[in-house]
Symmetry: C2
Subunit: 245 residues, 2 copies
């Protein structure tokens, strides 16, 4: 048959998972044992395991073993009033949003354009980590107009809420104007901050929030672990938009 041996082994392992190949903790037999069992070289088993880890079915840990990954995804709603904690509130016992880092810098062209600022304007960048039930689910980089929101980093650090921080700056309400969505493999930083394993996928959103007078106030890029989060767009109550094309 024309199909590679390691793919066949991967299928066998995949099927084995649902029929007791792993122990009670979800741990697979060691590679060496699997190699014996299937009558192939350990490298071949490793190729199969790498592919399954790749798919998110398995997870390997040096020195500890290979485990079946258990999945349960949070559903993150995207709409006019997208807010991190509120969105996950009914799915998680506890959510948190922590500031990792902040800096004042000159806006990159894309950031300046999104925020409606002049090229080279000063912006505040905030890096934050979102968790639900203690599990990191998203990592965001947000930019704010430095002139208008000078104290926002402190406020966010104290409150753990963008909404509260904006309120402290006089923004009583805001809405999500647009959300771009793409997916890619996690890079080294994603892997570290979100505790992902090799081959993991992140869903990357680029969001623009505007205040009640439609002025841009926040531009952000958020990386969600695709294993832990699913996005949902509810169009309930959407007006007709202009024809798309």
């Amino acid at each position: 048959m024309g199909v590679a041996l390691w793919r066949q082994i991967a299928d066998e392992i995949r099927r084995g998972i649902v029929s007791g190949l792993a122990d009670a903790d979800g741990r697979l037999p060691p590679e060496s044992r699997l190699a014996e069992r299937f009558g192939v070289n350990r490298h071949t088993v490793r190729a199969a395991i790498a592919a399954l880890a790749h798919e998110g079915v398995l997870q390997t840990a040096q020195g500890r073993g290979t485990y079946v990954r258990q999945r349960k995804r949070f559903v993150y709603p995207i709409g006019r009033r997208t807010r991190f904690s509120a969105g996950l509130h009914d799915q998680a016992g506890a959510t948190s949003s922590t500031m990792l880092e902040t800096a004042t810098e000159t806006a990159r062209p894309a950031v300046a354009a999104a925020l409606g600022l002049l090229p080279g304007a000063s912006v505040i960048r905030i890096e934050s980590l979102g968790t639900a039930d203690g599990v990191p689910v998203s990592r965001a980089t947000s930019w704010f107009d430095g002139a208008r929101f000078s104290g926002i980093a402190d406020l966010f650090a104290r409150t753990g809420s963008i909404t509260a921080a904006l309120a402290g700056c006089g923004v009583t309400d805001y809405r999500r104007a647009s959300t771009g969505i793409e997916a890619r493999h996690a890079d080294e930083a994603d892997t570290r901050e979100l505790h992902l394993s090799a081959g993991a996928i992140v869903i990357v959103t680029q969001a623009l929030n505007v205040d009640l007078s439609e002025r841009p106030i926040q531009f952000s890029t958020t990386r969600f672990s695709a294993d832990r989060v699913e996005l949902i767009v509810s169009s309930t109550g959407l007006h007709d938009a202009e024809p798309q094309g």
Copy 2:
């Protein structure tokens, strides 16, 4: 040094790409030559290339070589009036939607629930492929109420348009009620139908369309090539939804 050799090689290749390692067509030197050049085994080069292919930087083709992947993504709008061809119309010279397969079957519970049918109801399943400028960008599986839309497969096959096919069944207009979005690695079928290479990512949407009286008419799962497509949600004109949590 604590960092694996293949990672170092990957970085060297990555840097090399922007400084003329690849030829005019974006083709890299063969693995054997890279191995010599870096003074490592070909397996080590392969591990590096696999990682970069994984990230979407490179693309390998058996017998042809390894190429730097060029990317230009279509932006697929998701909103109240999401339609395949209209969404890509201003970005592509030509778009098409082709029926690959259709069948009448009893609804799975999830499908029946989404369409508001009784468990075990008869539904029509249509598999289709969406292309833009000749490139496959999405593969969809759609379900329709078999009793209400008995002739829809023929209509879609003839017109290449879900909107036209629905119109032929008396649905003058419809809107997108909700869209779930997740991302995963392409499986074997995705790889084949969308011409993806190993390690590719697909963005998977689960969409529900309803008619003007809010009755569900179409439930579909669409796999987009994450390399070729980016989704965008424009909240322009969104009403307030109920508080999210």
